[in-house]
C-alpha cells in the first residue's frame, strides 16, 4: 500500500511502550463508561422525580375536583369526607415537594456537577493525542535526517529537527504523566462522592412514606367500613354494578 501517502510516517523507535498505552486506554475507557452511566443516571433520576411530582399533583386534583362538585352541597357527610381527603392530599403533596427538593440537592445536582468534569477530561485526552501525533511525526523526521549522509546542511536540518522535537516530546510526556496520575484519582473519587446520594435516596423515601402511612391511616379510621379483603371489595363492586344494570333506565346490552 505504498501508493497511499501517509501524512505522518510512523517512527521506527517506539515512543511509548505498549503496556503504558494499554494502561492509558483502560483507564480512559473506564472513565468513558462512567461518563455514560452518570449521564444516564442523571436523566433517569430527573424523569423519575418529574413523574413523581406529576403523580402528586394528580392526586390533589382527585380530591379538589370532588370537593368542588355540587354533591358536596347536597350531602354534608360527603362534604366532610371530601374535605378530610383534600387536606390529606395537599399535605402529601407538600411532603412530596420536600422529598423532591432533597433529591434535587443531594442527587441530581451533584450528578450534574460530576458530569461537568468530563468535557475537560475529554479535551485533555484529545490534546494529548494531538501532541502524540506531533511527537510521532517529528520523531520520524529526526530519524529520517539521522539516516542521511552527514553533510553540513543535513546536520543543520537534523539539529533543527531535534530542537523542534524536544519540546513536543516533553509536552507529551508531561501530558501523559498527568493524565495517568489524575484519571485513576478521579475515577476513584466517585465512590466517596456518590455515597451520600444513595443514602439520601433511601432516607427521603422512608421519611415520605412514613408520613403517607400516618396521614392515610388517620383517614381510614374515619371510615366506618372495616377493612375488607380485595376479593370482598371486588365482589362488592360487582354486586352494586349488577344492581344498577338491573334498572330499566339502564340499558342491558
Amino acid at each position: 500500500m505504498s501508493w497511499i501517502p501517509f501524512k505522518n510516517n510512523n517512527p521506527k523507535k517506539q515512543i511509548i511502550s505498549k503496556t503504558v498505552e494499554r494502561d492509558f486506554e483502560r483507564e480512559y475507557e473506564k472513565l468513558q463508561k462512567l461518563e455514560d452511566q452518570t449521564k444516564k443516571l442523571h436523566k433517569d433520576m430527573k424523569k423519575s422525580t418529574e413523574a413523581d411530582t406529576a403523580m402528586s399533583k394528580a392526586a390533589v386534583k382527585i380530591s379538589s375536583d370532588l370537593l368542588s362538585n355540587p354533591l358536596c352541597e347536597q350531602d354534608p357527610q360527603f362534604l366532610k369526607s371530601m374535605t378530610a381527603l383534600d387536606t390529606a392530599m395537599r399535605r402529601m403533596d407538600a411532603f412530596n415537594q420536600e422529598k423532591v427538593n432533597q433529591i434535587q440537592k443531594t442527587v441530581i445536582e451533584p450528578l450534574k456537577k460530576f458530569s461537568s468534569v468530563f468535557p475537560s477530561l475529554n479535551m485533555a485526552v484529545k490534546r494529548r493525542e494531538q501532541t502524540l501525533q506531533d511527537y510521532k511525526r517529528l520523531q520520524s523526521k529526526v530519524e529520517k535526517y539521522e539516516e542521511k549522509e552527514k553533510t553540513g546542511p543535513t546536520m543543520v536540518k537534523l539539529h533543527q529537527a531535534r530542537e523542534e522535537l524536544r519540546p513536543v516530546r516533553e509536552d507529551f510526556e508531561a501530558k501523559n504523566k498527568q493524565l495517568l496520575e489524575e484519571m485513576p484519582k478521579f475515577y476513584h473519587s466517585r465512590i466517596d462522592y456518590f455515597q451520600p446520594s444513595f443514602e439520601a435516596l433511601i432516607r427521603a423515601q422512608v421519611a415520605y412514606f412514613t408520613e403517607m402511612h400516618k396521614i392515610f391511616g388517620e383517614l381510614t379510621e374515619q371510615i366506618d367500613q372495616p377493612g375488607l379483603t380485595d376479593e370482598q371489595r371486588e365482589r362488592d363492586n360487582e354486586a352494586r354494578l349488577s344492581e344498577l344494570k338491573a334498572l330499566s333506565i339502564v340499558a342491558d346490552d
Binding site: L66, Q160, E199, R240, S248
Partner: protein, 658 residues
C-alpha cells in the same frame, strides 16, 4: 280457545233432587272450581312439555347463534309457581266446606310470587315473539312454542275466580276472602301490564341512538319536522316567559343530583386515570440499574436492592390494586350514565309534546288517538324516571364513595409496604443514627465541599490546554513578529500550532508556526471558538483551538530567533530545561542556520549550513546579539540567532580548523 264449561251434565237438575235456584248456583260454583283445577293441570302439562321437550330437542340440535335463554325466558319459574299452586289447590278435597277459604288463602299467599314470576315473563314476551319469528324463518323451529298460553293464563285466573265468586252466596263464610282474592288478581294483572308497558318504553327510549348522518336525513319528514318545530316553539315560549314551565320539583331535584353525580364520576375516573398513567411513567424509570462500578459501596448496594424489590413486587401490586379496585369500577360506572341521561332528554321532549296536548285538551276538550298515546308515553317515561332515578342516584353515589374509600385504604397499605422494606435497609446505612435534620445538613454540606474539589479537578485537566512550547521561527516569521509587536501587545501574539485551512468566507489560512495577533476573541455572532486575527496585513477568522499564545521563554535549548520575554517565564509549566550548552565544547560545532547578507564591512555573509568558528560572543559594545565569527577565511559579525550549535559525534576538535 277452550270452552268455559266442559260438557253439559246429563240429566236435569230435577233428577238430582236439589232446590233449583240455590242448586244451580252451587252447581255452577263447583263447576267453576273444577274448571280452575283442571285447566291448571292442563296448563301445567302444556308448559312442561314446551319447556322440557321442545327445549331439549332444540338443545340437542346444537344450533349456533341460538338464543335458548331468550326464547324460553323464565319458563322454569313459571312451571315452579304453577306446580306449587296446583299442589296447594289439590291438598283439600273440593267438596270440603272449607275449600273456598283454603282457595282464597292459597291465592292470597302466593300473590307476590305469581306477580313477580309472570311480570318477568310478560315483559320478555315481545322478545320471545321476535326470536320465535326469526327462528321459524330460518326453519330452526318447526313448531310454535305456545308461549301465548302463559300470557293468557295469568289473566285467566282473574276470570275464573270471578266466576266462582259470582256463584257464591254473599253469606258464605269465605265470601269476603274470595272477594279479596279477586281484587288482588285484578291488581296483579294491572301491575303486570304496567310493568310491561314501562319496560317497553324504557327499551325504546333509553338507548342512545347511533344514527349516521344519512339515517338522520332519512328520518326527516313532514311529521318529524312538525314534531320538532312544535317542541322548539314550546321551549322558546318557556324561555321567553310566555308559558309557565311545568315544574316538577321532585324531578328537577333528581336531575340536578344526577348531573352532579355524573360530573363527579367522570372527573374522578379521569383523574385516577391520569394518576395511574404518571405512576406507570415513574415505574418505567430504573435509576437503580445504573452501572457506576460501585457495587461494593454500602449505600449504593442497599439502594439498589431496595429499589429492585420495590420495582419488582411492591409497585406492581399497588398498581394492580388501583386498577382493579378503583379505576375499573369507575369506568364501568361511568358507562352506565349514558342511558339514563338519554332518557332524561327524551322525557323533556315528550314533556313539551305533552304540554301542547294538554293545552289542546283544555281548549278543545278532545285529542286524537296519537296524541293520547304521546301523552301516555310522557307519563310512562316520567313515572319510570321518578321511580328509578332515586335508586340509581343512591347506588351510584355508594359506588363513588366506595371507590374513594378503597383508594384511601390502598394508599395506606402501599405506604405500609414501602416503609416496612425501606426501614429495614435504612438500618444498614452508615449515617442512619443521625436525626433527619442533621443528616440533610451533612449531605448538603458534603456536596458543596465536593463541588469545589470537582472544580479543581476540571481545572487540572484544563491546564493541559496551553502547551508550553513554541515552534522555532523562520526569518519571515521573525519579520512578522517585529511587525506585529509594533502594533500589538505581546499577550496578543499567538502562533498557529498546525496548518489551518480557512473554510468559510472570512476565514484565514495559516501555516504551522505562523504568527498572528489576536484582535478579538470571538466572531460577530459571539462564537468564542472563532477568533479575529491579523496576519501580515490580512484579517480574518481562525479556530481558537489551533492557535496558542506565543510566549517565548528561555526554555528551549535552541537559540531560536525569539525575543526573550522575561515575564512570560511565569506562564510556562515547569519543565526541566536542559542547560544551555556552551558553543565552544570540543564535541560541538557551530553552523550557520540561515543565509545572511552582510550589510556593512564589519559583518560577514553566511550561507545556511556553513561551518563557522566563533571568535567572540558579543560585539564591541558587549551586545550579545552579535557574534564575531570566522567563516571561509573571512571574519565579521553575524546575528547570534542565525547560528546554530550542533552536537556532532565523531568529529574531533582538532579537525575543526578548516
Amino acid at each position: 280457545m277452550e270452552p268455559i264449561y266442559c260438557t253439559v251434565l246429563p240429566g236435569s237438575p230435577d233428577e238430582l233432587g236439589v232446590p233449583p235456584e240455590a242448586d244451580k248456583t252451587k252447581h255452577k260454583q263447583s263447576l267453576a272450581i273444577e274448571e280452575l283445577l283442571s285447566t291448571e293441570r292442563g296448563y301445567l302439562n302444556m308448559i312442561q312439555l314446551c319447556a322440557v321437550d321442545i327445549r331439549n330437542r332444540l338443545k340437542q340440535k346444537q344450533l349456533p347463534d341460538f338464543d335458548l335463554e331468550g326464547l324460553f325466558a323464565n319458563i322454569d319459574d313459571v312451571i315452579d309457581v304453577s306446580s306449587k299452586l296446583l299442589y296447594q289447590l289439590e291438598l283439600m278435597d273440593t267438596e270440603n266446606p272449607q275449600y273456598l277459604q283454603a282457595l282464597s288463602d292459597t291465592f292470597l299467599s302466593m300473590r307476590s310470587e305469581l306477580e313477580n314470576t309472570y311480570k318477568e315473563y310478560c315483559a320478555s314476551y315481545s322478545n320471545i315473539l321476535i326470536l320465535e319469528a326469526r327462528y321459524r324463518e330460518r326453519e330452526e323451529l318447526d313448531k310454535a312454542i305456545q308461549e301465548t298460553i302463559t300470557i293468557q293464563r295469568i289473566a285467566r285466573y282473574q276470570l275464573l275466580l270471578q266466576t266462582i265468586l259470582k256463584n257464591t252466596e254473599p253469606s258464605h263464610p269465605a265470601y269476603r276472602s274470595l272477594q279479596a282474592t279477586v281484587d288482588s288478581t285484578v291488581a296483579l294483572n294491572s301491575n303486570i301490564n304496567e310493568y310491561k308497558r314501562l319496560k317497553e318504553v324504557a327499551d325504546k327510549y333509553n338507548k342512545p341512538e347511533n344514527l349516521t348522518l344519512m339515517d338522520k336525513i332519512y328520518r326527516i319528514n313532514t311529521h318529524s319536522i312538525a314534531k320538532k318545530t312544535a317542541r322548539l316553539s314550546q321551549m322558546l315560549k318557556h324561555e321567553a316567559g310566555f308559558l309557565p314551565k311545568t315544574e316538577d320539583k321532585e324531578f328537577d331535584a333528581l336531575e340536578e343530583y344526577f348531573l352532579a353525580l355524573e360530573r363527579g364520576v367522570a372527573d374522578l375516573q379521569d383523574n385516577v386515570s391520569t394518576f395511574v398513567k404518571h405512576f406507570e411513567e415513574f415505574l418505567s424509570r430504573r435509576p437503580h440499574e445504573c452501572e457506576l462500578d460501585i457495587e461494593t459501596e454500602v449505600a449504593f448496594r442497599n439502594y439498589k436492592e431496595l429499589s429492585a424489590i420495590l420495582h419488582k413486587h411492591i409497585y406492581p401490586k399497588y398498581m394492580h390494586r388501583l386498577k382493579s379496585l378503583v379505576l375499573q369500577p369507575l369506568c364501568s360506572l361511568q358507562e352506565l350514565f349514558a342511558c339514563p341521561q338519554n332518557m332524561i332528554r327524551k322525557r323533556l321532549h315528550k314533556l313539551l309534546d305533552f304540554e301542547k296536548i294538554e293545552e289542546k285538551r283544555r281548549e278543545t276538550g278532545s285529542i286524537t288517538y296519537e296524541e293520547q298515546e304521546a301523552a301516555n308515553t310522557y307519563q310512562a317515561i316520567n313515572t319510570l324516571l321518578l321511580t328509578e332515578m332515586p335508586k340509581f342516584n343512591g347506588m351510584a353515589t355508594q359506588l363513588l364513595i366506595r371507590a374513594m374509600e378503597t383508594f384511601i385504604f390502598i394508599q395506606r397499605d402501599f405506604a405500609a409496604d414501602v416503609n416496612h422494606i425501606a426501614s429495614g435497609y435504612l438500618q444498614h446505612l452508615p449515617h442512619n443514627k443521625l436525626p433527619d435534620y442533621t443528616f440533610w445538613s451533612w449531605a448538603e454540606g458534603m456536596f458543596l465541599k465536593e463541588a469545589k474539589s470537582l472544580q479543581q479537578i476540571s481545572q487540572t485537566f484544563e491546564a493541559e490546554l496551553n502547551p508550553h512550547f513554541i515552534l522555532p521561527l523562520t526569518p519571515s516569521s521573525q519579520r512578522r513578529l517585529s511587525e506585529l509587536t509594533k502594533r500589538y501587545k505581546s499577550e496578543q501574539i499567538y502562533q498557529a500550532s498546525s496548518d489551518i485551512k480557512g473554510g468559510r468566507d472570512m476565514d484565514l489560512s495559516l501555516s504551522r508556526g505562523e504568527l498572528v495577533a489576536v484582535i478579538q476573541e470571538m466572531d460577530t455572532k459571539g462564537d468564542k471558538r472563532r477568533w479575529l486575527v491579523e496576519a501580515g496585513g490580512n484579517r480574518g477568522y481562525v479556530p481558537a483551538s489551533r492557535i496558542n499564545p506565543y510566549h517565548p521563554t528561555g526554555q528551549t535549548a535552541s537559540p531560536s530567533p525569539a525575543i526573550v520575554d522575561e515575564a512570560s517565564k511565569r506562564h510556562s509549566v515547569v519543565v526541566v530545561s536542559p542547560a544551555i550548552e556552551s558553543p565552544v565544547l570540543p564535541s560541538l560545532q557551530v553552523f550557520a542556520a540561515y543565509d545572511f547578507s552582510a550589510r556593512s564591512i564589519h559583518e560577514v555573509s553566511l550561507r545556511a549550513g556553513e561551518l563557522v568558528t566563533v571568535l567572540e560572543h558579543h560585539d564591541r559594545q558587549g551586545n550579545p546579539q552579535w557574534t564575531l565569527v570566522e567563516v571561509q577565511g573571512q571574519k565579521g559579525y553575524v546575528p547570534s540567532n542565525y547560528l546554530m550549535v550542533v552536537p556532532v559525534p565523531g568529529i574531533s576538535a582538532s579537525s575543526r580548523k578548516t
